[in-house]
Structure formats: structure tokens, C-alpha cells
Amino acid sequence: MLYDRYGRLAYTLALRVLGDAAAAEDVVQEAFLAVWRRAASYRPERGSLRTWVCSIVHHRAIDRLRGRSGRARLDLSLDKAPPDVALSDTWETVAADLERDHIRRALGELPDEQRRTIELAYYAGYSQSEISSLMSVPLGTVKGRTRMALRRLRSSLERQGLEWSVT
């Protein structure tokens, strides 16, 4: 079943964004129910199942974080921001999964300010306005860094020969 294939990835992502196991379980459950309810709307030619599932999990986790259907984020201080992925202990370990290794390497190649922008946005669920406040830079700078980070990330992955997975 779909959950058996992507449940771990979905839970990992939700837990990373929310930092709370019970909330992550709720989000994963809601997300897979949404996938099941909307299975007919899936278009494989538009992206992989993994993309679809992760997209739903990620957006629901962020919605919950921002209080649209759950608790609100109260503290925007940079000190309280989740730890930097690239500098965490797990980053230092040898990745068993080659794909993970490639992606981490690509993230590590980004300029610090771009990588930090992506991490605050994707892994910590901050909006661009919030990141602008956190990093004390204009909103336009955050927008530019986000775009540039994704472009560089893609180029880096392509240089490493990583195939874009469709499943």
C-alpha cells in the first residue's frame, strides 16, 4: 500500500517540520487520507507519487504550524529555530543511501545564506516574511535567495548525475 512505500518519508518530514511526534502522526494520517480521497486527481505525468505525497504532507504540516488548523507559531527568534540540517550530527555520518548523500552534498554546496533560507522555509516552516525578520534582510533578498538556492540545488544534483525519480 502507498503508506508502506512513503509512510516513513512522510513521517520524517512531518516530524522535522513540526518537531512533535503526536502532531506529525496526525498530519501524516490526514495527508494519506487526503491522498486516498483525491486519488482520482493524481496525474502521474505531472510528477511522481513521492512528490505528490510529500507536497501534501509538507503543506499540511506548515498549515498546522501556522495555526490554520492547529497551534500557532509564537516564537520567531533565530535562537529557537530548529537546528541546521547541514551541521547536525546526522549530516556528519556517512549516508547509507546514495541518493541522500548526493542531496546532502548538493545542499552543502549552497552558499550559507541560501542554504539557511531553504532550511528555514522547508524544514522549519517559516514564511518568507518571517525569514526576512529572522535573518534581518529585506523580503526581496529572501525571495531571491530562495529562487537561487533551488536553481543551484538542481544544477548541483544534475552535475552529480542524480536522476529525478518518478516513483
Binding site: M1, Q29, R37, R38, A39, R43, G47, T51, V166
Partner: protein, 254 residues
Amino acid sequence: MERDVTCEDCDLLLAAHAVGALDPGEGRRMVLHLQGCDRCQASASGYLRTADVLPIALEPVTPPPALRSRLLAQVHAEVAGVGQGRPRGAPLHERLWRALPAGRGLTVTGAVAAIAAVVLAVWSFAVPHHQASQPGVLVSRACGLTPLPSACGELAYTPATHQSVITVQGLPALPVVNSQTVGGYAVWLIPGKGGPVLGAYLQPAPDGHTWAAVLEGDAGSYVAVATTHEPRLGSSVPTGPELLRITRPVSPPS
């Protein structure tokens, strides 16, 4: 008055959207622009696929096994209470999904594999919905005992997966004290010999009328399942009145 979104604006919004960082109100403007702009649709696809790799960089964490059972139980409960409590409007990321162009950078093999995966996934979830015509699923039904004659349930056993799903309707809502539900409906496995064994707790579906639980393990190890209302969760023996008993489904004579 809102300024029209240019392709440059949209490109920045698409990158923000891909990492979930759009500020409130920006999504609607982006989707409106996308609907009429092939160039930006192509950009959207690229950003989303790049962001798609970000979860993989995280150290994997295995979810608790109970999450899978809860998910299955809720799906079965929703199937049994067809069509109620479902959301109407699609969220932004799903509207964007629909707005994206087809066929960008994906192989035919990949597309076929993806379709097959979805079909399998949906079939797997929907088994009870079609159980009458699924030879791989054994079903038995029963209605309530004296304390609650309105309760009716169904026990579906899939020998191939050694998984049973019990779906019950007609149970009253659990009492609520200080905004928290008290107790739960327990499902007990009744062996041929010996006392009942706790199998699971029923989970409510959004329709408010259907409850379900997934029972793992070989159905041959018990002869029936019974449902009780337990004022406190965690008891290893039933403490509340038995509300429903369903005999284990058996293979039809060949």
C-alpha cells in the same frame, strides 16, 4: 488595487511555493497567473521537482506501527460511511498540481509505474468497499446485543494479509469531560478456549456514525470478536458491557 503578477514575480512566488514559504494571499495571485502562462507552468514543475528531494536529505525516522493501523481503520470507516465528512475545496498545492502542465521530463515507463502504484494503492485501500465481489475477503456481520441493539458491525478478514477490519455503526458518541473523550470502544478477540484478548480500540470516522479498527494477526486464532465500552483505556480484560459480537468469517465451502 492589486498589481498584475508578471512572469518575474510569478517565478519568485513559484520558488517560494515549492519550499512552502509563500506569505498569505500570494498563492491566489500566483495560481491566477499560472493558469494563463505556459512559461511559468514549466518553471513551476522544475521548482517543485527540485524541492521534492529535500525530504530525502533528512535522517529517516520510522513512524509508530499504530499509525498504519489507525490510518487503515479510518479509511475503512470512511468507506463504510460513504461520502460523509469529506472536504469540499482543494487546497492551494492541489490546485497548483492541477494547473501544472503534463508530461514534463517524465518517462513513459515512469508514468506507467506511477499509475500502477496508484491503482494498487487505491485498490488496497478500497477492498472493503467491494468486498462482496472480492473473493479474497471473507465477511461476517452481526447486530447488537441487549445493551445496544442499534449497533451493527461487519468483520472483514483478508487471508492473504492476515488482516481483519471491524467496522461498527450505531455506537453512541463517547462521553466528553473537559473537552476530552472518556474511555473508548474496545475490540476483544474471543478465542475458542480462554479469556478475551484486547485486539484494538475502535476509531471514529468523520461522519460521526462509523467506527473501525484493524486487527492484525491470524483470524484462525479466535472464533469471534466482541465490542465493549471501556470507561478507561488500557485494561487487559473487559470491564464494560458487551455491545456487539461478530463471529469470525470462515471460508465458503469449495
